[in-house]
Symmetry: C3
Subunit: 267 residues, 3 copies
C-alpha cells in the first residue's frame, strides 16, 4: 500500500518527467483539466480526429477517455485511440461520466471496458455501480451514492476486468479487486466545482504514467488531488476562489502538505 514517500515520489516524478497525457474528453472540462495537468507538471494534449489518433498515441505517455459529452465520431476515436494505446502498453484511464443516466453512456462505457481494457476506471459511486451492473440510479452526472456503498461494485468491476477501480467521494476508495485503499482528504466544496472528478481522472493518468503500478498511480493521483483540495479550501471564499486556489495548490504541493493533509489507509 503506497505511503507518503511513494505519493511524493510520483508527484515529483510527474514534475520531472512531464508525461504527455492525451485526453479525449468532454467539452465542459477541457480547460480545467488541461490547467490541472500543467499545474501538476504534466503536459496535456486534446484531440479527437480519427486521422491523427495513431500518430498522437505514439508520442504520449497516457490516455484519458471521458464520456461526458459523447457523440458517434468521438466514440469511434475513443476506440481507435484506446486500441492503439493498449498495443503500446500505455495506461488508459476511463472516466464514465454519467454512466447509468442514459443507455448511450452506460453502453459506451461498458464497451470501452470490454474492448479497450483500461488500466484504471475512475467514477463516482453511481457511475461505478452502473458500470458494474448494480441496481441504483445515476442522477445526471453527480453521484447519489457514497464511495462506501459502491465498494462491492468496485471490487466486482476490478475482478471482472482486471483493472483498478477508483470510486471518488468524501473518502476515495481504490481497489484492484484484491487490495482496497482508502484516501481521506479534500473538502466539501469540491463537488460544487465542475470538473473536479474529471480532474482527478487526469491526475491519476499522469501519475499512472510514472508509477510502478496502476494501483500505486491511482492512489497517489487521488492523494495529490485530496491534498490540493484541502489546501485550496483553507483560502477559498466559495467555489470560484476554490477552483483558482486548487490549481495554485497543485503547483505548490510539497511532501509536507501530503503528509499533513491526506490519510491513506485500509478499510
Amino acid at each position: 500500500m503506497p505511503h507518503t514517500e511513494q505519493i511524493w515520489r510520483n508527484v515529483d516524478a510527474v514534475r520531472r518527467e512531464a508525461p504527455l497525457v492525451h485526453s479525449i474528453t468532454n467539452f465542459v472540462v477541457m480547460n480545467v483539466t488541461a490547467n490541472a495537468l500543467l499545474a501538476a507538471g504534466a503536459s496535456p494534449i486534446m484531440a479527437h480526429a480519427r486521422e491523427e489518433m495513431a500518430e498522437l498515441i505514439n508520442i504520449v505517455s497516457a490516455l484519458v477517455l471521458n464520456i461526458g459529452t459523447l457523440s458517434a465520431p468521438w466514440i469511434d476515436s475513443m476506440f481507435l485511440a484506446g486500441a492503439a494505446a493498449r498495443e503500446r502498453g500505455l495506461p488508459v484511464v476511463l472516466d464514465p461520466v454519467g454512466a447509468g443516466a442514459s443507455t448511450l453512456r452506460t453502453t459506451t462505457a461498458a464497451q470501452l471496458m470490454e474492448r479497450v481494457r483500461p488500466a484504471i476506471v475512475r467514477g463516482n459511486g453511481s457511475e461505478i455501480m452502473a458500470l458494474a451492473g448494480a441496481a441504483g440510479a445515476t442522477r445526471g452526472v453527480d453521484s447519489t451514492r457514497d464511495a462506501h456503498a459502491a465498494a462491492d461494485s468496485a471490487r466486482a468491476l476490478s475482478l471482472r476486468h482486471r483493472c483498478v477501480t477508483v470510486v471518488s467521494g468524501p473518502v476515495d476508495l481504490i481497489t484492484d479487486g484484491d487490495e482496497v485503499v482508502l484516501v481521506t482528504g479534500g473538502h466539501a466544496l469540491m463537488p460544487r466545482v465542475t470538473g473536479m472528478g474529471c480532474t482527478s481522472t487526469v491526475l491519476v493518468a499522469a501519475h499512472a504514467a510514472v508509477a510502478a503500478s496502476p494501483l500505486e498511480g491511482a492512489v497517489s493521483g487521488m492523494a495529490a488531488m485530496s491534498a490540493a483540495g484541502s489546501m485550496a479550501a483553507e483560502r477559498a471564499a466559495g467555489p470560484g476562489s476554490f477552483a483558482m486556489h486548487f490549481i495554485d495548490a497543485l503547483y505548490a504541493l510539497s511532501e509536507a502538505d501530503i503528509r499533513a493533509r491526506v490519510r491513506v489507509g485500509r478499510p
Copy 2:
C-alpha cells in the same frame, strides 16, 4: 410582481431542491455556466447526442437551448430535446446568442420559438429585436441596443409566442406581454466577462424549475444574477477577478444581499 421574499424563496428552493438543468449550449460558456449552476445549488448536465436526448430529458427539471456555436447535428438535438421537454411540461429557456448576426442563427432561433415554444427567451436587446423581426443590427454576440429600446419587441415577442421575454442590460426588462418588470443591479464589468448573458439564462432556468410561474422564475433568476454581480464588483480588480468573485457570490447570496443590491419595479 415578485418581491424580495419571492426572489429569496426561489434562491433557497434551488439550493434545497437542486434542480438538474440540461443545457445544449455553446462551447465557449459550458464551463462557466456549469459552475454558476453548481454555485447556485443546482446541478448541471450537458449533452448533445440525439441518442440520449429522450432519456436525459426524463430525469431533468429544466432545459436550456443556447445557439451560440450552432451546427446541424446540434440543431437536430435541440428540436428533439425541446419537443421531449415540452411533452413533459418542463420549462425550456432559449438563449438566441447572436440572432440577427447570421441567417442560420436568426432562422434557428425563430424555428425554436415556433416549434419548441420555450417558456422563456433571454437575450440582449439586439437579439430580442432580431427575433421579434424588428429592424436593428446585431453586432456579433454583444448587444448594440439597450434594454429599454427593445421593450416593444419584447412585448410583441411574448404576445406572439405566449412566453416570457427577458432583455438583459444595465436594467433588465422581463415581460409576459402583459406585465413588465424591471430589475436593476449588476455592474458594468459584467459585459466584459464572456458568458455572463448565458449564465443568466441558466440561472433563469434553475429558478423556473422551482418557481410558481415562468415570469416569477425569470425575475428571480435575473435578480439573483444582479445581486451576485453587484457583490462581485465590490471585490474585483478587473474582469478576471470579477468572474471568480461572481461564482463565490452566487454561492454565498443571502436574503439581505438581495434586499440591499437589487431593485425590482415597474417601468
Copy 3:
C-alpha cells in the same frame, strides 16, 4: 520598429474601436481567449458552421484560425472563412497548434498557409519549424525549441508566404522575413497556463485589426501580452491565480506598464 508609443496607440485603439474578432479555434481555449479579447476591449465571436461563415466574415474585423482540436468539418469552415476574409482584406492570423505532432496538423497548417495566405502566423518554436519544413520534433503542443533556435525557420516562412511570423517564447521573435523584432517580458508561469499561446494569437489579431501594418500589430499584440504577463506574475501564487490576474492586467494595462515591463528591440 514599433516603440512604446505605437504599442500604446494600438492598445488604446483596440479599446476605442472594439474590433470584432472571429475565431475558429480549439475547444480548450475558447473561454479564455474570449475573456482575453473582452478584457483588452475587443469583442469575440466564435462560430464554425459552414452556413454562417460568409455572413459573419462580413461583420468582423479579423479572423483567427487555430488548429488545436481539428476535425474535417471545422477544417472546411476554416478554408471557407479564410477565403472570405482574404477577399475582404481582413487580417487572418493562423495558430498552428501542434504542427509537427501529426500529419493532419502539419498538412492542414501548411494548406492554410498556401491557400488562405494569413497575414500573420503565431506559434512556438517547434510549430514554426514544423511549418517551415525544418527538422525537429514537436512534443505534443508544448514547444521543445526556444524562440531563437527557430529564427531561421521564421524568416524562411515569412519570405516564402509573404507573412509575418511570430515565434513565442521567453523572448518573442517577430519577423516579416526582412526586419526582425524581439519582445522581452512575460513570465515563466505563462507556459504553465493552458491557452496562453492561443491568447497571444487573438491579441495579435485584435491589434492587427487596428494597426498600420501586420508587423506592427504582431509586435504590439505580443508586447501587450508580455506586459500583462509581467504584471500578473507579481500578484500570482501559482498558475491558477496567474490566469485571473492576467485578465485583470490586460484590462488595466497602461502606457506606463508597457514602458516599465517590456523591451522591444533588434537581435
